[in-house]
Symmetry: C2
């Protein structure tokens, strides 16, 4: 069954550019900082628990993550951590926020090619200013007709985005690295999804089952494969 | 000259509900925390400098403010501040984020009355999740046709909001407590502005001159006066 697509949605972090690798590097430094108190697996476990407790209030993004890192460091050291070490955690935060945007290979030619035939929209979640800064730094904004930063990616938030962008859901396919955030809510809404996994998946984004049997789902290894897949599955395409 | 208004934009923090009073209370506690090291005016001055240095990277909102508070406390105490005191700063952050929304008097009847004759939109700046939470808690969402959280309020960001909401600028009036963020960019764009000052204006939002002579500007003391002013100045109104 071919898909009647007019609009392609792209996630940004870990779909168009590297992001989780910054957190991975930060986690390493953070575990080193606390290594005289606890082993890395304890640090990781307690940090994740703190992040999950704070998620509803702090939301996604580097600033909330940094506050969770500081809180965890204080609790894991029973308040022994030095102010200078906390200052270094904030310095890491600043480095992450000001890090250059590293595009994946092939992103730009793929967007250029697809933007001549489809309306492209960008749907990212997280901190508003940080996401806007990355979109600006990426140089990719001209390929997108519309971009939305949402505080979470749920069935409701996609419904709102599609309503604002005036896109019927059956004409929409979302491309992203997270099954939980980019694919499943869109499939549940009646749209289509193409999953391109990243090397690292944050524990919070993991789901048990990939919806391989779903008619509106595909999985690719790289964004470079996207134009060929689109040629094959979209109604009215030449292939 | 009457204004051809079809759409009324509202700022939220300190226009529909109290916000700056939370920061004021936080500042008092913060100065108390550091009172054994410095007097309150030094603490305020250095905190403000830190906030301004961090603004481009951290943006507006409680989480960035909290990171600036922690950094300032470390620097003002030469690293002597205890981890437990930093934990209390994060606890204040959590209290601010989870604080109930306290509407101003008369907001609800005013919005109800105006929403029957105009399209109302909400334009707030700051942290995406925090603003969304406050909009939800306020119970005011049903009066608004459209709401946008922006990372800054500039001529460009208003132009984008009005384009997305499909509103011609000369048919738009913005209501808010900040001349800098709510009024001047909209006047510069060719729209109209009604300023309703709050008891406290954050130093960063202060401007030198109120544009009293501008044809598209009014100032009120309270939102309760808004329907009468609208009756007087809008084209096609009954007054």
């Amino acid at each position: 069954m071919k898909w009647p697509i007019t609009t392609i949605g792209f996630d940004a972090d870990d779909t168009l550019w590297h992001n989780e690798n910054l957190f991975e590097a930060h986690h390493r430094k953070y575990c080193d900082l606390l290594s005289e108190y606890h082993d890395a697996s304890t640090v990781e476990k307690v940090l994740y628990e703190t992040e999950m407790q704070n998620l509803e209030l702090f939301g996604y993004g580097i600033k909330g993550f940094t506050l969770s890192c500081i809180e965890t460091a204080i609790s894991l050291t029973n308040g022994e951590i030095k102010a200078e070490e906390i200052r270094r955690i904030i310095e890491h935060c600043r480095n992450m926020l000001s890090h250059p945007v590293e595009l994946f290979d092939d992103v730009e030619p793929v967007l250029e090619q697809l933007s001549s035939r489809f309306r492209l929209i960008l749907v990212t979640k997280g901190d508003l200013r940080d996401q806007e800064r990355k979109i600006a730094k990426s140089g990719l904004a001209p390929y997108f007709d519309h971009s939305e930063v949402v505080s979470d990616k749920t069935v409701e938030s996609y419904a709102r985005v599609l309503e604002r962008a005036n896109v019927p859901v059956d004409q929409f396919v979302m491309i992203g690295n997270s099954l939980k955030s980019d694919i499943l809510p869109v499939l549940n809404l009646g749209g289509h999804g193409i999953h391109i996994p990243y090397r690292i998946t944050w524990e919070h984004e993991r789901v048990e089952k990939t919806p391989h049997e779903h008619d509106s789902f595909y999985q690719l290894e790289s964004i470079a494969q996207l134009p060929d897949l689109v040629d094959t599955i979209v109604v009215g395409s030449n292939a």
